[in-house]
Symmetry: C2
Subunit: 477 residues, 2 copies
């Protein structure tokens, strides 16, 4: 509670600071124009902002996606339905061009999971298989727990010291407004299984990478190293990790039974697609601003937050621009990426396909984080484009967005793949305090989406896309 309240105070503080910065660093704004952004364009952007603030189109799109499609794990019927839904929806929204580009991946099935403490005090545990994990033997396995407070502690364990044991990493993710607690925590999920296997472990259990206290485990991908055997990997919910810790605190051997029927089908190629919609520019349609989000989701929730919000925001932003009397100079390309959750697969295949025309991706922004309001925008552009960014920031400042002076953004989530390859980007940061309460859990449902925040955030993406497309500025470094 207090942390959330502090978060709100932080946002308010940052917002006020942001407005102050924009007003002080950007004298051109008070004169009514900046390089590449005419007074007319600014006036249009302000009208657009205020129109979008009154619309809940982005929320309604998320509601439709999660009600009519639901979970969209790559390779499942929901994934295919999601692609069909997105194509139909883009056409319905009036995009000038709509197409799909095939993405391939391999099949994984979650199966079922049972986990329980056998000794010293029998209790059931709520666990969830990590994405991509192999299963246990059909009958399950029983083994003593060896506890590590962190991934680093597991790394320090002696070779062979985990023979016949289950490794358990209890590190708890910290709640931070910018989600920066995720990095130090998630290594247990991505690398823990191979590290434990190298020490001889039969299986890996981790405390869920999440900030809530619900008995719902957080899934997410495990990465198996080629030099290590593949062992089953699962996450306990935070309260269940607490139960296990409480039993471990008694100093007696703690034995857990784990049965997990998840299965990798590494030879079974499945096909899905990036879904792409274009608002065709009136002057240089071959150049486009990219708005990114991902269409796939984990299977356990309905993916309303991750990344239904992004789908709603990017589709709605394009639609609001389609409603203008004329198209912007450049095109706007909404890319709803496939297979993000299983390793940015759709984005990587998009890059392979479009590497030759990367220069035509003039700038991009993705939404794939948070349920709160955007408080920060960080550009990653050439210095001569900064005035245009400042013009955007001036229009967005009343919405609580501060312009981060650190001009190093390389795109978020899927768009980090294009950003690393050289595409200019703006990273918008929403309040992420609550995001990891729901992330990769059954709790990722529509009731978690903040309808008012979504209006504001959609206005921000719309203004960004409009100015970037209309200004004609070269954002390259």
């Amino acid at each position: 509670m207090n942390r959330v309240f502090q978060g709100v105070l932080s946002i308010l503080g940052l917002s006020i600071l942001g407005m102050f910065c924009v007003l002080t660093v950007n004298p051109a704004l008070s004169e009514g124009r900046v390089d590449g952004v005419s007074e007319e364009m600014q006036a249009t952007a302000i009208r657009l902002r205020d129109t979008v603030l009154k619309s809940d189109l982005s929320y309604r799109l998320d509601e439709q996606l999660t009600t009519e499609v639901g979970p969209r794990l790559v390779g499942t019927p929901g994934d295919r339905k999601g692609v069909e839904w997105a194509v139909a929806k883009m056409k319905e929204l009036g995009f000038d061009r709509v197409w799909t580009e095939e993405v391939t991946h391999v099949m994984w099935e979650r199966g079922e999971i049972e986990a329980e403490i056998i000794a010293p005090y029998p209790q059931k545990l709520v666990a969830i298989a990590l994405g991509g994990s192999v299963g246990t033997p059909e009958a399950g396995l029983k083994a003593e727990i060896v506890h590590f407070p962190s991934y680093a502690a597991l790394q320090a364990a002696a070779p062979g010291s985990l023979e016949g044991k289950i490794a358990f990493i209890s590190y708890r993710m910290e709640r931070r407004i910018d989600g920066s607690g995720y990095g130090p925590a998630v290594v247990a999920r991505t690398k823990g299984a191979s590290e434990a296997a190298r020490k001889g472990a039969l299986a890996l259990l981790i405390r869920s990478i999440g900030t809530d206290d619900n008995r719902l485990g957080h899934t997410g991908s495990v990465k198996y190293d080629a030099d290590a055997g593949k062992i089953p990997a699962a996450a306990l919910s935070n309260p269940d990790a607490d139960i296990l810790m409480a039993q471990l605190s008694r100093g007696k051997p703690v034995v857990v039974r784990l049965r997990q029927t998840s299965e990798r089908h590494d030879q079974t190629v499945i096909k899905t697609a990036n879904v792409i919609g274009e608002v065709t520019g009136r002057e240089t349609p071959e150049d486009f601003v990219v708005l990114g989000a991902h269409l796939d989701s984990w299977d356990v929730g309905t993916g309303a937050v991750d990344d239904g919000i992004g789908v709603g925001i990017t589709l709605a932003a394009a639609r609001h621009i389609l409603d203008l009397p004329e198209r912007p100079k450049r095109s706007i390309r909404v890319v709803l990426f496939a297979a993000e959750e299983v390793g940015l697969v759709g984005a990587k295949q998009y890059l392979e396909r479009h590497r030759d025309e990367l220069d035509h991706h003039v700038i991009g922004a993705e939404w794939d984080f948070g349920v709160g309001r955007i408080y920060d925008m960080r550009p990653g552009v050439g210095p001569e484009a900064l005035n245009t960014i400042r013009a955007m920031a001036g229009i967005l400042a009343p919405l609580g967005v501060s312009l981060n002076p650190d001009n190093t953004a390389k795109g978020q989530s899927d768009l980090s793949v294009l950003g690393e390859a050289g595409m200019p980007a703006v990273n918008f940061s929403p309040d992420g305090s609550l995001y990891f309460d729901y992330h990769h859990t059954e709790n990722d449902t529509l009731d978690k989406v903040d309808r008012e925040a979504m209006k504001i955030n959609t206005a921000i993406y719309t203004v960004f896309a409009y100015i970037a497309a209309e200004s004609g500025v070269d954002f390259r470094k």
Copy 2:
């Protein structure tokens, strides 16, 4: 968030009001004594209060119960282990007498449950069987949903109008500091199945009786009327009720498949026990103050809140009084009731056994609600005992407890059975704003327990028990 914040403001307000009331209505306090409460007794009570405030014994007892025993559904191994644990713990804590009294009930098994929307948009639903519910046919059942916004709307449905359908009541419980949202909501759970059966329904689904937004259903008992067929009854989590409502909003028939293997064994009598521990009074040991809580819990959580908190508080209060240099005049009887969750069964059987000596139960207080701090105490005593109650209130006012002028309390939870039969009582009311987030769910685990609140609440019950036992006042009306 806001509601919680408002709750905190309400508590502060009530507390200040409470202190004001106590100070103004009780001139005797400022003179250092009140009827039946000597200055020495007051001084001892204040010392006791301040000692208990520094102890986390009650929390540690809850931790032990939930770690070493876990869930305690009547008739399960956990229930039997709970009884053994409580007997052993009372002896370890130094109670003067410890015994059990047999309680009998019938057997019910939760089994498994699967619920999913089949049409128009297939989606899995998180559901939980209501306690005591019958199961569906082995293969499950599929039927169209007929939606009712409330139990009253179901009552108003035409006879036969639900033939071959599943009734769904979507009423959502309101969050209130005193838990008063529960009553208007819970009728759907207790009476909905029989009402739906009378109209011809195949099954009942309700929105969970809970205030959270987690995909964890809230269980709790269903009551079947003798004049209606028994149909399966289950609760959807709040987000899943939202998903069902969203699909219903499309205006197309919504078909749900429900498979539930829960089973009543109405002929299988199971035995459990009320566990009773006594601090034997030094002058009139045949008279006793009752501290009540219930030892059983639902099977899905560990019962850390419901009612591990009550077990911890009542055991710890007695232990703190055992630590005094001498026993109070009267005895203190801690009763850990069996089978509360399935209909106050342990309390009713206790009353049958002890009806002849009801007059020796001089006054009682139970803990079975909330995770927050007590802000209100409401007596139900004879007028000549009110000064003693005011003396208690004066000592408890600095802890934020206000004395409710409404002298009508008849005991809470189990002790309402004795209160209705005539036993005087004090009802202590903690902040219940969060209670129904966890109530009867898997989320009822130790991490939900507020360790600091538990210190304060234990101090309050300890002072109550001490003064009631030491004062010798007749609390009867």
